[in-house]
């Protein structure tokens, strides 16, 4: 068993055999590229403004002029969804990066620490893992208050325990591997061992988790702002648009349907990519 783990941990380089990824993965990559384009240069994707109201064009269904229809103030829903990409992507990436960094530090510390410290950290992680991420995020909002920045921290803090747990286990596996023991007995400085061996080998599984985690973070953030705990109307954020659309479901389904489709498409693309990464790393290890 330990032999298998060693083999997987040592082979940290991509395999040389290059195969073309399946069509689903290519479609996911294309979707993400579009999302990044919309987040960085929304004006290249749509000429309409996300905030310009037009009382004469309120609550119109999808048409050539307004592909996703218009909302109660006559704003173009397509433009609002495109401009919303930057909020969701920023929260998703920012929160995941924060959670990954904090989880890595806590997990590696616990994995290498003396028993009592590991015990304390692990029990804390267990207590936090007993709560679903979304409830944890709500509690964090209760403490630090509502707003756009709060949402990033809430989503990040709620995700830390999962990353910390995996980082801890991976650290314990790697630090028992032959080459780490060899490096230690050769007198390599402990910090160098952590930097050169433990962090790179821990990042492998965490990278897959984080890819899927960006999607989860986008959904949680949209949920929090749907509840009115984040950015306020008329900000073109997907959760805010959905919450406004809820009041017009009877007459204008398009306001609530299209931003949700955008979230789903982003999350499907991220999970597809995450699964592909996991398959590839599993293929290397077997």
């Amino acid at each position: 068993m330990s032999k298998e783990i060693d083999a997987g941990v040592v082979a940290a380089r991509p395999s040389s055999g290059r195969r073309v990824p399946p069509a689903g993965v290519l479609a996911a990559a294309l979707m993400l590229a579009l999302l990044v384009l919309a987040a960085l240069f929304p004006w290249l994707v749509t000429a309409a403004s996300p905030l310009q109201t037009d009382a004469t064009a309120a609550l119109q269904g999808p048409s050539a002029a307004h592909p996703f229809g218009t909302d109660q103030s006559g704003r173009d829903v397509f433009a609002r969804v495109i401009y919303g990409a930057r909020y969701s992507l920023a929260v998703g990436l920012g929160a995941t990066a924060l959670a990954l960094g904090a989880g890595l530090i806590i997990g590696i510390t616990a994995g290498l620490a003396p028993r009592f410290l590991d015990g304390a950290l692990s029990r804390t992680i267990d207590v936090l893992m007993a709560f679903p991420e979304f409830l944890l995020a709500l509690v964090v909002i209760a403490v630090i208050g509502t707003g756009e920045v709060s949402i990033v921290f809430a989503v990040a803090l709620a995700a830390i325990p999962a990353y910390a747990r995996v980082a801890r286990i991976q650290t314990m596996v790697v630090s028992r591997a032959g080459y780490v023991r060899a490096a230690r007995s050769l007198g390599v400085h402990p910090f160098a061992v952590v930097a050169r061996h433990i962090i790179p080998n821990t990042l492998g599984p965490l990278r897959v988790m984080a890819t899927i985690g960006v999607g989860t973070a986008i959904v949680s953030a949209a949920g929090l702002s749907f509840l009115g705990l984040g950015p306020q109307p008329p900000t073109p954020e997907w959760g805010v648009i959905l919450s406004e659309g809820r009041n017009f479901l009877a007459t204008a389904w398009w306001i609530a349907v299209f931003p949700g489709l955008a979230i789903t498409a982003a999350v499907v693309a991220l999970s597809t990519l995450g699964r592909y990464l996991r398959l590839r790393s599993a293929g290397r290890e077997s």
Binding site: F131, F134, A142, V143, G260, V267
Partner: protein, 316 residues
């Protein structure tokens, strides 16, 4: 493993959650007296001091913490700052709709997952089922609710739009909550069924002449069930978290509304009460799952639980 240790684990989680919640919520900037009186109240300093004394807010933090723990042991969660009633009454009064919603959702989720696992026989069916799973897992719960509401309530008129009474008003919210959970359970269940067929006991059973259906029903489901079950415990937690959103979408009564109002209004005792109740629920669910696990998988009864955890973590 002694049951005393397990019960100790439950208490540890609840105490940990209560303490962490207490510390975190004491750090909130702002004066609780403002929350109680409202922002615009004009009240003299002596009245404020009187309120502070009545609520025990003038005591040192450690004394407040200890008296909080003491009251907690007696089942007293304190008084709401804003609602003029005890937190136990606030939570107890709104618990039933949420329990109804999540129980029905759990039932829906299990039935849907079982159906999907049984239907996904053959390559084409498997592809379709796994695509549907990916879609429902990736969709935000509240959006699924909005779409179901738009189609079945507004367009087709099959279900009431917003109402908190009657079974008909419960179907769409429960289905909304169930779909993403069903997708996850079904994924794990199908994976477990595939794994089970590769196990030695499957080969043995087939050699004994057990039919394919008998193998799936008597052995594979048991094997796959053990995996799905640990997950189900976690997913019950997700259901309760998702209930907050679903109750908002369908404008239903319940703990979700209580939580949101308390968070926005900074009603600290209510927020703390919800944290403690949630911790008790999750710790008990994990305990039940852990015990059921051993009933389902006979191999675990002989293995040291510590080894089992390690074996599980390495396998994951």
């Amino acid at each position: 493993m002694g049951s005393a240790v397990r019960l100790g684990g439950v208490l540890l989680v609840v105490w940990g959650a209560a303490t962490a919640g207490f510390i975190a919520l004491r750090l909130i900037p702002g004066d609780p007296v403002d929350v109680m009186l409202g922002v615009h109240a004009r009240v003299g300093e002596e009245v404020r001091a009187q309120i502070r004394e009545d609520w025990g807010l003038d005591e040192p933090p450690l004394v407040q913490y200890l008296s909080y723990l003491g009251r907690l042991l007696q089942g007293d969660l304190g008084q709401s700052y804003q609602l003029r009633s005890s937190v136990t009454d606030v939570i107890g009064g709104q618990a039933l709709p949420t329990v109804q919603l999540t129980s029905l959702a759990l039932l829906f989720a299990l039935v849907l997952a079982l159906a999907a696992a049984l239907l996904a026989r053959g390559p084409l069916a498997q592809r379709i089922v796994s695509l549907v799973e990916l879609l429902v897992i990736s969709s935000p719960t509240f959006w699924i609710g909005l779409v179901l509401l738009a189609v079945f309530s507004f367009q087709l008129g099959w279900f009431p739009v917003t109402a908190s009474e009657g079974f008909a008003s419960l179907v769409l919210p429960a289905l909304t909550l169930a779909l993403p959970v069903a997708g996850i359970i079904s994924q794990v269940l199908r994976q477990g069924l595939d794994d089970a067929e590769a196990q030695q006991f499957a080969t043995t059973a087939r050699a004994r002449g057990v039919s394919r259906a008998g193998l799936v029903l008597r052995h594979s489901f048991r094997h796959a069930g053990a995996d799905s079950l640990t997950l189900t415990g976690y997913l019950v937690g997700s259901l309760l978290g998702g209930a907050v959103l679903v109750e908002t979408v369908f404008a239903r009564q319940g703990l979700g509304g209580v939580a949101i109002r308390a968070i926005i209004g900074r009603d600290i005792p209510v927020v703390l009460g919800i944290i403690v109740v949630a911790a008790i629920v999750f710790a008990l669910i994990n305990l039940i799952v852990d015990l059921t696990y051993r009933v389902l998988d006979p191999r675990l009864r002989v293995l040291d639980p510590r080894l089992r955890v390690v074996a599980h973590e390495v396998a994951a």
